[in-house]
């Protein structure tokens, strides 16, 4: 499995039809294709990824695209994606900071 998420981007409406209630991680991008939020659907997410993506899209107004990965190890994968973004861009995604959706202590990664 690649450290960075490399699934294809889809529009929010396309995703809405395809997403299911699985556990997993997802990313939102704005119109320019930049990642602006990384989230996960965990054990308390109603309707899994489908519900979580729908609910979070309402809180991330710039989101136009989404990509996701079904993954039961969503906690460790969520952190890996955050650390990798931090390594690539020097900061966490904009809305993870604004919404304070981030682990308490930020880790380092040099994915190469």
């Amino acid at each position: 499995m690649a450290v960075r998420l490399n699934k294809p981007w889809q529009t929010l409406s396309e995703a809405s039809a395809r997403l299911r209630g699985n556990l997993g991680v997802f990313q939102f991008a704005d119109a320019s294709g930049g990642v602006i939020y990384i989230g996960f659907a965990g054990g308390r997410s109603l309707y899994g990824l489908k519900g979580e993506v729908r609910d979070m899209a309402a809180l991330v107004p710039d989101a136009t695209q989404v990509r996701w990965e079904v993954n039961t190890a969503y906690q460790s994968r969520f952190r890996e994606l955050l650390w990798a973004h931090n390594a690539d861009f020097g900061a966490l995604p904009k809305y993870n900071i604004e919404l304070n959706h981030r682990p308490v202590r930020i880790g380092r990664l040099s994915p190469g």
Binding site: M1, V3, G42, G43, R44, N71, T72, A73, Y74, Q75, S76, R77, R79, E80, W83, P103, V104, R105, I106, G107, R108, L109, S110, P111, G112
Partner: protein
């Protein structure tokens, strides 16, 4: 070995039990089922309480400000601390503090100033870097990470695998081969700053355990001053070995705590749950599962407390610690498995903690030395030098 708790032990155990039930369990109702950390506001509040109880930093020696609590009592406390969903790998979410890397108590004064005291104050975090892609159970042979002397510095190249907490650590203890001809007498322990050029966390290793994950590390021409050697050159194996032995007792205690909690939940559930017109508790198949659980738990407790008692007396306890790790991890797995069976569909749902315990308990038979290695350690102790 006295099987009765002292008055003081009963008091402490009762206090920790109430803390887990009144402070930790309610928070888990809202946390993600795989969470391993609390919100800072909750964590700070709970740390205040454990400090107030006089139980913060349980494994810190009294000369460094920790409470003076023997290992038997600490084992009893560890059994209580793990009785919640995250209890196996994040007992009470770290709100009891701890010494972190106990090996630093043997460090030089300068090293203590730079690493030990900031760790005890909660300002720095460390990791323990022993296992490698080539193996973790036989560090004397498996360690291929090399350190070569260059002036007053050492240059380290190599990699480590299954290292917990390295991505969020400020420093770590890294074991490297400094003499390729001397086996276990050719390994040195280095204290490594994680902002050092050449230190890389390459990836998170995803396993059954979603939170509290492991990482893969790489060292590329990482330059470490000789002043950062912990202990002596080529004497690192003893540091690793001592840690591995001592760690097996709390490791076993965590498994016992989860088993105790699982059994308690099952004992509450089976009289209420009816099938075919009668409570589950009236079924012999269920009763036998409960009985087998109880036997597994009691065996694990006494074997683990025996190991702790020997350690407290200053007697050799390698065999007993290996037995505790072996028995408690296997018994814990069986108990959680039986409880899942009794709860049926609910047992495998994320609504209840069994599925997390089941996944994490499976790792315990491998972590801190696979149980086959524990059997090897016990056999070696039983058979003595002739076996070697």
């Amino acid at each position: 070995m006295d099987l009765n708790l002292t008055e003081e032990q009963e008091l402490i155990v009762g206090m920790v039990r109430r803390f887990v039930r009144e402070e930790v369990l309610p928070l888990e109702l809202d946390l993600d089922p795989d969470a391993d950390e609390l919100e800072p506001v909750d964590r700070d509040r709970l740390v205040e309480k454990t400090r107030g109880m006089g139980l913060y930093g349980l494994d810190i020696p009294p000369e460094y400000g920790g409470p003076d609590i023997d290992l038997v009592t600490r084992t009893l406390i560890a059994i209580e601390m793990s009785q919640h969903r995250a209890g196996l790998y994040a007992p009470c979410y770290g709100t009891f503090g701890g010494a972190g890397l106990a090996q630093l108590f043997e460090a030089t004064d300068d090293q203590k100033e730079r690493y030990l005291y900031p760790t005890l104050r909660g300002e720095k975090r460390g990791f323990f870097g022993l296992s490698e892609p080539s193996g973790g159970s036989d560090p004397a042979r498996a360690i291929q990470t090399k350190a070569v002397l260059d002036g007053d510095d050492w240059i380290i190249n190599g990699s480590k695998l299954w290292i917990s907490g390295a991505d969020r650590a400020d420093f770590g203890l890294v074991f490297a081969r400094t003499d390729s001809d001397k086996g276990r007498n050719g390994i040195t322990c280095f204290i490594v700053d994680t902002d050092n050029p050449g230190f890389h966390v390459r990836r998170i290793v995803h396993t059954l355990r979603s939170a509290h994950y492991a990482t893969e590390l790489q060292f590329e021409d990482m330059r470490i001053p000789s002043s950062n050697i912990l202990g002596e050159v080529n004497r690192g194996f003893a540091i690793a070995n001592e840690r591995l032995t001592r760690q097996r007792i709390p490791y076993a205690a965590g498994c016992i705590g989860v088993a105790v909690k699982a059994q308690e939940m099952a004992l509450d559930y089976v009289p209420q749950r009816e099938t075919f017109g009668a409570p589950l508790s009236t079924r012999q198949s269920i009763q036998w599962m409960l009985v087998d659980n109880e036997i597994d738990i009691k065996q694990s407790i006494w074997i683990t407390l025996e190991a702790a008692t020997k350690a407290d007396r200053g007697e050799p306890f390698r065999k007993e610690a290996a037995m505790a790790k072996l028995v408690a991890t296997e018994a814990g797995g069986r108990v959680v498995d039986r409880c899942m069976q009794m709860f049926g569909g609910l047992g495998v749902a994320k609504d209840l903690p069994f599925e997390r315990w089941y996944r994490e308990m499976r790792i315990r038979r491998i972590g801190e030395g696979p149980n086959e290695v524990q059997r090897h350690v016990i056999a070696r102790e039983l058979l003595g030098a002739s076996f070697r």
